[in-house]
């Protein structure tokens, strides 16, 4: 675990920093106006910044994403590689879907496609292992696991193309 230090900077914001494993101090200052500043310490002067980069709100988000904000996605894609022949996908339930407003069981997903619905994402929350009586709503995102072909068929089924 990284030992993160939090220091208030009155009138500026908050500084978070830690002593990195490779001999430098690394930190982020969250300015009160929303800007983020990344800095690393100098090797010859551990108290001073060698370099600092000021980022806007959006840029900070992008960098966070690059640095590992997407760990979950990466984890999942690794999983599909690890288990040959198994695919996993997020499928949107559009308003035009014949199953919007119907219980999950109505889709007869497993019988028709061989793929299973393992979770439903609704309003940013995951509902794991929903039962057949679980009502599907337009705007839901469904997590489907199965063979690659089965997952594609499942997506078609849910969108009403089938």
């Amino acid at each position: 675990m990284v030992k993160l230090e939090e220091t208030p900077l009155p009138g500026v914001g908050v500084r978070y920093d830690f002593d990195g494993r490779f001999g430098k101090r690394v930190g982020v200052i969250t300015h009160r106006d929303g800007r983020r500043e990344i800095f690393v310490s100098r090797r010859d002067d551990p108290d001073a910044c060698a370099q600092s980069i000021v980022l806007s709100d959006e840029e900070a988000e992008a960098v966070a994403d690059l640095l590992g904000g997407s760990t979950i996605t990466r984890h999942v894609s690794k999983l599909t590689q690890d288990i040959e022949g198994l695919a996993m996908d997020w499928v949107n339930v559009p308003g035009t879907s014949p199953y919007a407003g119907h219980p999950l069981g109505d889709t007869m997903m497993r019988t028709r496609t061989g793929a299973s619905i393992v979770a439903v994402m609704r309003d940013g929350q995951a509902i794991p292992a929903p039962g057949p009586e679980f009502p599907l709503l337009a705007g839901d995102t469904v997590v489907v696991v199965g063979t690659p072909g089965g997952v594609v068929r499942a997506a078609k089924l849910l969108s009403g193309e089938d």
Partner: protein, 388 residues
């Protein structure tokens, strides 16, 4: 054509300031000393008409009020409380080391006691404006010594909030009893306002909060002026009233108000410095040069030690301690503000403060740049002292 004259002269002054500000940006220093110089030059070589002069005078008053309002906005009451608790020691050291030289110098120069107290304030207050500019411009916000520098600035600002009303009450003068009453009223008004600001600031924030930026700007600016005026009626300094409004505003309102008020503050603060320079009598400068130089040397050393010691307490190494010390050396806006209060008390106080601010504001940032070259010298000295 009085209007034409007013606009032409004011415009010329503001354009001159713009030019000076850009030059300061090029040189990487703050424009405050240059604004002062511009004011001095204006007073010496040009004669402004009555109307522009009047405007600059009023603008300067607004500038002082806005400077303190913006200062109050900078800090949330929580930050002030935490800082008071965490950094008492360095705050007390700072006050003792840097107020005393000014006070003593005032007595040595034969100032009346109150003017000496004002000179103490002039040497005590580091310029938080210059310090934060150095920190931001040189990319030093992430440095380990930076919280110490900021903490010292915050504590000075708090001390100033108590110091100003007291001085303002003393300035009105009168019999001993009258001074006592004035002092009591000032302190009571200040304490009540401070308490209300800390306790019920959110109510005010809610009242002022408006959807449109325009409405918010007008409510904030109007409120600041009204409170400053009321504070002035109560013989508490107008600027202090504005400071308290700044502290009382919090959260989202404070963030938005800070953005909105910034250009206004910059404009009027520049006018404030020009006005101070304008009032200076150039002939009195040679007479104060030597005391100003001496005071600069002594109080730069004491300020340096304050920063050095504070940074050392925070576990910072030599170079960081050096930087903390040098960053605190410049005195600026508030030293000028304090000196401005006592212009009538001692004729040399104004010129002395102006020259002193000029010297420290140049010396500090210059020294701060050479930490890589100069800090090792301190290191060697320290080692020699330990060995010897």
């Amino acid at each position: 054509m009085p209007l034409a004259q007013l606009f032409l002269e004011l415009g010329a002054v503001v354009l001159a300031l713009a030019f000076v500000g850009r030059a300061a940006g090029r040189l990487g220093i703050t424009p405050i000393p240059l604004y002062l110089l511009a004011g001095i030059g204006l007073g010496a070589f040009m004669h402004l008409g009555d109307a522009p002069e009047e405007f600059i005078h009023i603008g300067a008053e607004i500038g002082a009020v806005l400077l303190l309002f913006a200062l109050g906005l900078e800090y949330t009451s929580q930050e002030l409380r935490d800082n008071l608790q965490a950094n008492r020691q360095v705050g007390v050291l700072d006050l003792g080391l840097n107020f005393t030289p000014g006070l003593l110098a005032g007595f040595l120069l034969g100032f009346p006691p109150l003017a000496a107290v004002l000179l103490g304030g002039v040497t005590y207050l580091s310029s938080s404006g210059i310090a934060s500019k150095i920190l931001g411009d040189l990319g030093r916000l992430g440095n380990r010594e930076t919280p110490v520098i900021l903490a010292v600035c915050v504590l000075e600002d708090v001390a100033m909030a108590a110091y100003l009303p007291v001085v303002a009450a003393l300035l009105i003068g009168g019999t001993l009893a009258a001074i006592g009453v004035n002092l009591l009223v000032a302190l009571a008004a200040f304490a009540v306002a401070f308490f209300l600001a800390l306790r019920y600031g959110y109510v005010l924030s809610g009242l002022v909060n408006a959807q449109s930026n325009e409405a918010l700007l007008l409510s904030v600016f109007g409120l600041v002026l009204v409170v400053a005026g009321a504070a002035d009626l109560l013989k508490v300094s107008a600027a202090i009233g504005a400071f308290l409004v700044g502290i009382a505003l919090s959260g989202e309102v404070a963030d938005r108000a800070r953005h909105l008020i910034e250009p206004l503050r910059d404009l009027f603060a520049a006018v404030f410095f020009v006005f101070f320079g304008l009032q200076l009598n150039l002939g009195s400068v040679p007479g104060v040069l030597l005391p100003a130089l001496l005071l600069t040397v002594i109080t730069s050393a004491t300020k340096f030690f304050t920063g050095w010691w504070g940074a050392a307490q925070a576990g910072v190494q030599t170079r960081g301690r050096y930087r903390a010390g040098t960053t605190l050396i410049p005195r600026g806006e508030f030293s000028i503000l304090i000196a401005g209060l006592g212009l009538g008390l001692a004729p040399t106080l104004g010129p002395l403060a102006a020259v002193y601010v000029l010297l420290t504001a140049i010396l500090g940032p210059v020294l701060a740049r050479f930490d890589a070259q100069l800090a090792p010298l301190f290191d060697r000295r320290l080692r020699e002292m330990r060995a010897g």
